[in-house]
Subunit: 506 residues, 2 copies
């Protein structure tokens, strides 16, 4: 594997009356001798320090070389180490991992809230704000966020950020535009055209990243306004593009995208699933962080939290094991599945007002999930409605896409489930409520943060650049929100599990 | 011919629900359709303005495209015109010409004194100063000089300097290092190694040039510490590298370099001829500018300036036709030739103290060239000595180089004479004093500022880049100052025309 930057120790021949080559040409010849097989450049900034470094080190030094397309460039001649960062820019959170490029080992991974949240929690608010002249601010906020993450990682490992020589960054199309300070005006209005899809390589200075100034920054390409670099990166890391049989990649973050394909073709559908799945809609909804209920069971003991109101117990698992403060997407799936199984929730998503735990106030019902002293967490029927719209959108999207290519769920080899939501998903329960197709459980593969993983893989293997290009070329996009079949199929999927349950395994 | 930048009018297909390509990819496709045959890039800075420009202009605009090696990049989408500058950085003067890149026509050429002169008139003083920590200042002074020239040219033609999209710059190795702010410490001490030879392309911002920020800057490569980009450029413009038979290129500026070669081989000798030829040594010596005597005849009328002291007249031609203020290199050649022919100067360079016009003061003789009122221009014997050392160095260099490759002067096809000095040279008189070999006059070809011309040619034809590489690869360098044959042959050449006049046509 050939990483995005490599370190090459060089033992140079010294200048002599018989060998008057310039320092630059001497280094280039030594790089070639050390195995560098592509043409290399050394920019003025590095050249300015070159003669002193060569002579101070008796013509023996280690060059850090970065690769940009089919050329190499010397990015550092001084640093004793070389690091790389992989970044996934989410709408809500930015995740980054730190790599030692000498052995391409991952040293750490951290998250940081996307500071653009101060402008708005969702992408559309930010796009609107950008169109009102706040584009530069949105760019700066995002860069500040990434830089804060870089400094957190560097501080934790006592690293100088000028020793970071490579960055691989993936994000959705809007985030990628904010990253490069590109206008987003046309992405949100028909026919939804981005400024650029292939972002390719950029200079750290062009963006404002706190890393080595001569370093290499690769930005994952978009395949369209609704198919961002995060999806491309996810396809890369999941290996979907290598599958012999059709498989799904489902990425549920603040938005949800679905990829169906294999090594020969790929179709992406997006624009339907809502934020309910990441915990963004219900009043007590939250992301899968400390204090979030991520698992719910309605049964007899073991009991952690007891309702004490009648013939059953509700067992909630909470991230961090402390007092719950809300419920995340996977918790919501489990709650709905369990309430439905226990007949507390009917097929239409109505709560049984005679059931224990169900409250009614001004005609609006809610299920009390947790109560202790003055603390009370209740999920309202309207929250459940919102959730069901998201689950219906998810299922319908999967259904429409699989039918669009003349296949059925039975033909699916693997379902990679990615995103914050995907990490903790209970497949059984997701199937039970009709959110996922009813397939063998072994076909479901949790993919973690597949976008970050793809960026990490690229840091370690620049040979993947060609595969990324191939993935982009293969992708076709299908708009869900305006799809006639989608509109027709959606209502049936609002039910639990479906008005026509047979469709789930069809 | 393919210029370094071209303008391509683009009529783009408009986005539609069926054609959702990103703006960047839309432009790249249109460029390809318009005939662009290499991969192209569009940097973030241009991308930021792209969506607005496309829509404000109904998807019809003209792209200015620059070429860097085997790739193209969009450098401008707004400018209604595109200009280029060719620059020759001389030690004493910077020359630049302005081109309209639309038709590659030369609009103007101007000169500006190299502001580094405030540090020292000669290269060695500046190198020394740079080694004392003044490198950044020398860089800034040079850039200020080039920028002043750019602004002069732009003002004269009412051009915005952001419409300059291409620059081709040639200079000797030291000047090229100052241009890029590279340290020169090792160029002046054995074994004389530059930081870099192949400077290649740079960004205007990396150097500090006042031109379009996304523009293309090409810097001519050096072939060594004593074979600079100015020589490479001169070889290119003279066409020496295309000659079937061996030919000379003689470039006499503040320093003198000699190239002997043809399309199969090339040898460069340098380090010998002195500044006397550019007017730098004699007390009244000056460059070939306003007020310089550039031609001298000792004869009867027509008389412009009369000595009035006896049986002969001295006719001086003065640049600008005003009162003379000094004598330039070509004037000095003519003066020495004429004084020698008139027996006022003998073979050893001694003035005849009995001759009219010769003064003696404290045992030092001088020839009074001009006298009017209180104004008196006299050339001292010591000035003539200095000049004869330069002429001897010039001839000996030519002789040593031609012998080194087993040839004689008779084998020489052409002698291209370049530099400020070369423009006005009187071949007959240069031969008469033994400075140039005694060959058919038709073989001598004035080459003007051959370095500037090469840069101009490259602006208009980037295909020459390959030839420049070939020239660099072909060149071998021969040090003159330490050459044994040179030392042996030099003394005889101090005489007028030579102790062994047969050698002149050998």
């Amino acid at each position: 594997m050939d990483p995005l930057v490599t370190r090459l120790p060089l033992d140079l021949e010294k200048p002599s009356p018989e060998d008057k080559r310039a320092d630059k040409e001497r280094v280039l010849a030594a790089l070639k001798k050390a195995g560098l097989s592509v043409p290399a450049d050394i920019g003025p900034e590095i050249l300015r320090t070159l003669p002193g470094l060569l002579r101070d080190n008796d013509f023996s030094l280690t060059a850090t070389v970065g690769y940009v397309r089919d050329r190499a460039k010397v990015v550092d001649l001084q640093g004793a180490s070389s690091y790389g960062i992989a970044v996934d820019i989410g709408t809500t959170n930015i995740a980054a991992s730190l790599f030692d490029m000498a052995n391409t080992q991952k040293l750490d991974v951290m998250e940081y809230e996307n500071p653009q949240i101060e402008i708005g929690p969702d992408v559309l608010t930010r796009v609107h704000s950008s169109m009102q002249g706040e584009g530069a601010r949105l760019h700066r906020l995002l860069i500040n966020g990434i830089n804060a993450l870089i400094h957190k990682l560097c501080n934790a490992h006592a690293i100088d950020c000028s020793d970071i020589h490579a960055a691989a960054i993936a994000g959705n199309t809007i985030m990628t535009h904010f990253l490069l300070a590109l206008p987003v005006d046309n992405i949100s209005v028909a026919p939804y055209t981005p400024v650029a899809n292939r972002m390719d390589f950029a200079g750290p200075g062009e963006i404002g990243l706190d890393m080595n100034r001569s370093g290499v920054v690769y930005i994952f390409p978009n395949a369209g306004s609704y198919v961002g670099g995060d999806i491309i990166s996810g396809i890369l890391s999941s290996g979907l593009y290598l599958e012999e049989e059709p498989s799904f990649l489902i990425d549920v973050g603040t938005n949800a995208e679905i990829v169906l394909g294999c090594r020969e073709w790929m179709i992406v559908g997006a624009g339907a699933a809502g934020p309910a799945l990441e915990g963004g809609i219900s009043e007590i909804g939250m992301r899968a962080i400390q204090g979030a209920i991520y698992s719910v069971e309605v049964n007899n003991p073991p009991v952690i939290t007891s309702m004490g109101k009648g013939g059953f117990n509700v067992t909630c698992k909470v991230i961090g094991n402390g007092e719950p403060v809300g419920i995340c997407g996977s918790g919501m799936i489990e709650l709905v599945a369990e309430l439905y199984r226990s007949d507390i929730l009917n097929q239409q998503g109505r709560l049984n007002r005679h059931s224990h735990g169900v409250e009614e106030k001004d005609g609006a019902r809610a299920f009390v999930l947790y109560e202790s002293g003055r603390k009370k967490l209740a999920v309202r029927e309207s929250d459940i409605d919102n959730f069901l719209r998201s689950k219906a959108a998810m299922f319908t999207s999967l259904f429409v896409i699989v039918k669009a290519v003349g296949l059925g769920f039975k033909d699916i080899q693997h379902i990679y489930v990615s995103g914050a939501f995907g990490t903790g998903i209970n497949t059984d329960k997701a199937i039970r409520i009709g959110m996922m197709p009813d397939l063998e459980r072994s076909k479901f593969i949790p993919a973690g943060n597949s976008s970050l993983k793809g960026a990490e893989m690229l840091l370690a293997d620049r040979g993947l650049l060609q595969r990324i290009d191939r993935i982009c070329d293969m992708i076709t996009y299908r708009e869900m929100n305006t799809d006639g079949v989608f509109m027709k199929e959606f209502p049936g999927a609002l039910f639990i599990p479906h008005t026509n349950p047979e469709i789930l395994g069809s």
